[in-house]
């Protein structure tokens, strides 16, 4: 159901899941514990809150350093929400789910419970 309902931008608080498609990029630098931690946190949050409605691209700056400038990456790890616009950035290992959701502008699904 990814592509179908993309035009439905406005949604009520009661809808099950936002129909917006999320394009996310996670910038890491090698396989550091912090990067792995961030990746794990991201996967969990996405599965829980954006199930099926997201795409994550992982960029390892050690391999592609030239990509850092485009998104103004400074801190590692950085999660960039490229879509929807405007772009948002969350830096850190994403250990605080609440802040990640606020940062991504994703409303928590009621009942699902966030910790």
């Amino acid at each position: 159901m990814k592509p179908a309902k993309q035009t439905k931008v406005k949604h009520s608080a009661k809808s099950k899941a936002p129909a917006i498609r999320y394009d996310l990029r996670l910038y890491v630098a090698g396989q550091t514990p912090r990067s792995l931690q961030a990746l794990a946190n991201l996967k969990r949050i996405c599965e829980e809150h954006l199930a099926g409605n997201y795409r994550v691209e992982i960029i390892d700056l050690l391999k592609k350093p030239q990509l850092a400038a485009g998104d103004q990456i400074l801190a590692i790890p950085t999660l960039v929400r490229t879509i929807p616009k405007p772009a948002r950035k969350i830096i850190g290992d994403l250990s605080n789910t609440e802040r990640v959701l606020v940062g991504l502008d994703v409303r928590p699904i009621p009942g699902n419970g966030t910790h």
Partner: protein, 577 residues
């Protein structure tokens, strides 16, 4: 194999003067902190360091800007002649603009600034950069809330730069009571340069000081610096060691009478001459003479005028019979006029420096140096003169400075700079008999037996003339008094001549009288002789008559003449022979 200890390697900045202060440049392979308040030229300093590195020393550079965009930066320094875009195209420079917008960033959990390192590393590797500018990493403190992380990452960054072997310049804005707002000086401790600009008497003076330079000696004073179309210029005292050569050649002052007072040859070439005097004593005219004489010999000259425009100088000098315009037209003379208040002192100094470098004059006149005084303290002016004197001495040019001082305090303003100069000529007005006259004397002239005489200084339509003064009972006589005295002397001379003639006449007359007397006596003598002769003649005649009578008597008595002769002479003996 040399056993000499290797000094700290240095990376020349190419910035005029700074390399002299730091004895070679910034510490190579180490970070240097440039701090100062807003608008003091930190960014420009860094950019110039990169640009000159790329152009003059073949050391490509990376500029990480945290505040301005690459485009803005390029525009801002274009006015100084730095073409950043061209440098980027030719792979001599990489500019990366790093910015953080706090509003679009959320922080959650731990992070580091590896992204910054990666970007910096990529930029350095892309052009094999040797120099890095970070302008200013303090901006990160506004974008990231976890200052603990930031601080440790900055510490890591500076260590990393050292490991990378690049010579880095990090700028930092001056904070309250600290060198930088966020204490960057804690991390960058190899070399710290402080920039400063102050408003002094309405003119801004920029100053630079090397606060710290680990492992190297450096000039510790505050040095004025300037930002103009050539970039940054720092103005150190050019010779700390007083090692300039001393010429024995002489150079005419342009005034033959003054040359005569200076052993007949004038000043030493390459020396500095100070002329002080109160208003209207003819200081400028003396300077003009000096310039005129130099140009007449085919030498180059610069006349810095702080009071008159070039045309005014030319017009005024025409009134004493000097045509400076022809030298200007020939390109031998450059007259540079500027109001002393137009810029701060150091700006004047730099302008002079530039002109001296481009024009390469043999003779430099600064008229008057005292008008710079309001632009700074006496100390500043003294430092300025010292710098000029040093610079001129090193370039072998002869400096001629005039200075105005108060009528009643002839040596006060001059005192502070008089010890710096080699010759000091004093002009003064004296007011007697209802007129003002000018006097000149040579107060000092190092290395020559100069005249100790006071001369009267005349401005004629054929230039400056010096006349000997008369010493009268009331002091020296000048002007009309001197003219009157000259007339007196002339009168006295005529009178003397007359008296001599009179005496001559009198003596001649008495001589003649004596001669006349002699003639009269001669005549008398002749008369007496004549008388005597005639008397003898008469006696003889009488005698003859008497003899004849006796003869006749004897004849008549029958006696001889002899016996009668015996009776005539009572001794009788002679009568026998």
């Amino acid at each position: 194999m040399s056993k000499k200890l290797r000094p700290l390697p240095k990376a020349p900045t190419g910035i005029d003067g700074l390399d002299r202060i730091t004895l070679g440049g910034l510490p190579r392979g180490r970070p240097t902190l440039i701090c100062g308040s807003a608008g003091c030229g930190k960014t420009l300093f860094g950019i110039e360091f990169l640009v000159r590195g790329a152009l003059q020393f073949n050391e490509p550079g990376v500029c990480i800007t945290f505040e301005e965009s690459a485009r803005d930066l390029a525009l801002n320094v274009a006015s100084l002649g730095f073409d950043l875009e061209q440098l980027q195209k030719s792979k001599k420079l990489v500019i990366d603009h790093i910015y953080i917008d706090k509003s679009e960033i959320a922080e959650t959990g731990e992070y580091d600034l590896e992204g910054l390192f990666i970007r910096l590393n990529a930029a350095i590797d892309s052009i094999k950069a040797k120099r890095v500018l970070l302008d200013t990493p303090e901006a990160l403190f506004a974008g990231l809330s976890d200052t603990g992380v930031l601080r440790s990452e900055l510490r890591r960054l500076f260590g990393w730069l050292k490991d990378k072997g690049v010579t880095a310049v990090i700028t930092g804005e001056r904070g309250e009571g600290t060198l930088t707002r966020h204490g960057l000086e804690e991390y960058v401790s190899d070399c710290v340069i402080l920039l400063d600009h102050r408003v002094q008497n309405d003119a801004v003076t920029r100053r630079l000081r090397v606060l710290k330079y680990r492992g190297s000696t450096h000039g510790t004073s505050e040095y004025p610096f300037l930002i103009d179309e050539h970039g940054i210029s720092v103005l150190p005292v050019t010779s700390l060691g007083l090692t300039h050569p001393a010429s024995t050649a002489r150079i005419s002052s342009g005034i033959p009478d003054l040359d005569a007072m200076l052993e007949g040859h004038g000043y030493f070439r390459g020396s500095s001459v100070l002329v002080t005097g109160s208003a209207g004593t003819g200081k400028t005219s003396m300077g003009a003479h000096f310039v005129d004489a130099a140009c007449g010999r085919g030498e180059k000259a610069i006349l810095f005028s702080f009071e008159e425009s070039p045309e005014q100088v030319i017009r005024n000098m025409r009134s004493i019979g000097m045509d400076l315009e022809r030298w200007v037209k020939k390109g031998l003379l450059h007259i540079e006029s500027a109001r002393p208040t137009a810029f701060g002192l150091e700006m004047h100094l730099v302008r002079m420096h530039h002109l001296l470098k481009t024009h390469k004059p043999d003779v430099v006149v600064i008229d008057p140096i005292s008008s710079l005084l309001p632009g700074g303290s006496e100390h500043d002016v003294q430092a300025l003169v010292l710098r000029i004197v040093d610079f001129l001495k090193h370039s072998g040019a002869t400096g001629f400075f005039t200075a105005l001082n108060a009528e009643d305090d002839l040596q006060s303003t001059a005192l502070s700079i008089s010890s710096l100069v080699d010759a000091w000529i004093l002009l003064r007005n004296i007011e007697v008999n209802g007129e003002r006259n000018r006097l000149l004397y040579v107060l000092k002239s190092r290395g020559m037996a100069h005249s100790n005489q006071i001369r009267e200084f005349l401005l004629t339509h054929r230039g400056v003339r010096l006349r000997e003064v008369y010493l009268g009972p009331g002091g020296v006589l000048t002007g009309s008094a001197r003219v009157a005295r000259e007339a007196d002397e002339r009168r006295a001379e005529i009178q003397r001549q007359q008296e001599i003639q009179d005496r001559e006449r009198a003596i001649t007359a008495s001589l003649r009288a004596v001669e006349a007397k002699i003639a009269a006596l001669q005549a008398e003598k002749v008369a007496h002789e004549n008388e005597l002769t005639s008397a003898l003649g008469a006696d003889h005649a009488q005698k003859a008559v008497a003899l004849a009578d006796i003869e006749a008597l004897r004849k008549s008595r029958g006696m001889t003449i002899e016996s009668t002769g015996r009776t005539q002479r009572p001794n009788g003996r002679e009568g026998k022979s």
